[in-house]
């Protein structure tokens, strides 16, 4: 059991999400940085999909009623990143501001136990479901931990070259969006060359970007259609929005591009005020990167 002495700025229970409910308008949710949670769990001998705490901007303070092995991954949040350590019974973990990213994951051997909704522990804020009562953690909350019996071996850490290969990017690679042809060459070129600033008004639903507005050749009107994770929509004002993990499943704005899967963890680490750029890649390149990344993540050679 752990008690929440302070929830930090915004902390939720997350796992790898709840796919399969797009039919009823519910998006997948899950960790904003899925690589960080997968590796945190693997370091502890957990299944990759084990529930952990996703802390945003400012970490929380948690008291452990029993001893536990934990690993902190994602944006830097204290000295002991990406390597398991032991918390003594009654021990308190206090996290500060998150740097080098915006989200850190507190993974615990055995995982966080909450009632599953649609097979997942992840909190969906827009749908107010999953996690702990469908909401962010509050001071005084108590979380149950799972059994350690089924867990595998605990690793001592990750090879530095693996962390280097997974470094967060400020240039996001994108494939061409289904409505890219609604933008003329000058606007497409501008989208791929200028820097955007991440708006304060960004969250798990979407990352809003500020910068010189784009204009559409024939207006922003289109029939609502199904939209994927990482789609870069350009709303009527001409500013791009990256649809993110708690996204709406359908949208009615033209999509100029789509962030490639391997760069989605970097989207999850964008902090308000950060600068981002977009770089177009071919679908075949995006696919190759996915397979390379997956080979790396599944390898046993990544551990020290």
């Amino acid at each position: 059991m752990i008690s929440v002495q302070s929830p930090g700025a915004f902390t939720t229970v997350q796992d790898l999400g709840r796919p399969g409910y797009g039919l009823v308008g519910l998006s997948r949710a899950g960790a904003a940085d899925p690589v960080a949670i997968r590796l945190g769990n693997r370091l502890l001998g957990n299944w990759e999909n084990t529930a952990a705490l996703e802390m945003t901007l400012l970490g929380g303070t948690f008291q452990f009623h029993h001893g536990a092995d934990v690993a902190v991954t994602g944006g830097a949040c204290g000295p002991a990143m990406w390597k398991p350590f032991r918390v003594a019974p009654g021990g308190i973990l206090k996290f500060g501001p998150i740097t080098g990213g915006v989200r850190s994951y507190l993974c615990i051997r055995g995982g966080i136990q909450v009632p599953l909704v649609g097979g997942s522990a992840s909190t969906h804020m827009h749908g107010a479901l999953g996690g702990l009562e469908g909401r962010a953690l509050r001071k005084g909350d108590v979380l149950e931990l799972g059994s350690e019996e089924a867990s595998g071996v605990i690793r001592s850490g990750l090879r530095p070259e693996v962390l280097a290969a997974l470094a967060y990017r400020s240039t996001l690679r994108v494939t061409r969006g289904p409505q890219a042809d609604r933008f003329d060459a000058a606007n497409l070129a501008r989208f791929h060359s200028q820097a955007y600033k991440v708006s304060n008004n960004s969250n798990r639903l979407g990352i809003r970007l500020e910068g010189p507005a784009l204009s559409l050749s024939d207006g922003a009107e289109m029939t609502t259609e199904g939209v994927p994770l990482g789609a870069v929509q350009v709303a009527a004002g001409g500013h791009p929005i990256i649809l993110f993990v708690d996204q709406q499943t359908t949208g009615g704005y033209p999509k100029i591009a789509n962030v490639i899967t391997v760069d989605l963890p970097s989207v999850g680490q964008l902090r308000p005020g950060d600068e981002v750029r977009f770089q177009q890649v071919d679908p075949s390149e995006a696919q190759r990167l996915i397979l390379d990344r997956e080979t790396l993540l599944r390898s046993e050679e990544i551990f020290l």
Partner: protein
């Protein structure tokens, strides 16, 4: 980028883990095709986001590829039924208290159309609706079938809170708010049914293709 075309549908590249099946227009064919895709249990397919005239197919890019998924889809599209068989259609009845505190815009809607509130209730509850898709929020169903005479513009400035269960009209659409949210629809009534309940299986009262009747209570 078009990946394939068949029977008046196109398969478009949407992202490195999704493709978009696009129909020429919103039609029952989309709903029938959706049923066929759901029943086929395609390898690597993890999610479906249907809309008016499109179905987004999200897949696990480690398990399958655009080309492989398209290869499975094309024969399904060619053989999908063009018409629904009668037994398969489900009708969901939604009891509604029209007017009063739950339907504060009923009188305004009536006046706007030069009819009585009772006429609005009669017209709204006599029509057969169909769920085209769900989106905007979990459990929010886009319904077709609102009688043209009830088409009503949205509020000039949206309400900051619309209670869950509110039944509203916006333009040519009608629908039920599954959860409290801001909203600009004209509210004509309220239902006590929970449109979306995460602790229930299924979570959503409505699915694409369901027929809907509003029953005045």
């Amino acid at each position: 980028m078009t990946l394939a075309e068949t029977c008046g549908c196109r398969l478009l590249y949407s992202s490195d883990q999704s493709l978009l099946l696009e129909f020429r227009e919103a039609s029952d064919r989309l709903l029938l095709t959706l049923d066929v895709i759901r029943a086929a249990d395609l390898p690597g397919l993890v999610n479906l986001h249907p809309a008016y005239a499109t179905i987004l197919l999200v897949f696990d890019p480690v398990e399958t590829t655009h080309a492989e998924l398209a290869g499975h889809l094309l024969p399904l599209l060619e053989h999908a039924p063009k018409r629904a068989s009668h037994g398969a259609i489900r009708t969901v009845e939604i009891p509604v208290r029209y007017g009063g505190t739950g339907g504060p815009d009923l009188d305004w809607v009536a006046e706007h159309h030069g009819i009585t509130p009772a006429d609005v209730v009669e017209l709204h509850s006599a029509a057969d609706y169909e769920v085209r898709f769900l989106g905007f929020a979990p459990g929010f169903a886009y319904l077709s079938g609102l009688p043209g005479v009830l088409a009503t513009p949205r509020l000039d400035s949206p309400r900051t809170v619309v209670p869950a269960g509110s039944v509203g009209i916006a333009g040519t659409q009608t629908g039920v708010y599954p959860a409290a949210s801001p909203g600009g629809w004209r509210l004509i009534g309220k239902t006590d049914l929970r449109m979306f309940d995460p602790s229930r299986n299924p979570m959503s009262l409505l699915e694409p293709g369901d027929r809907v009747r509003f029953i005045p209570v």
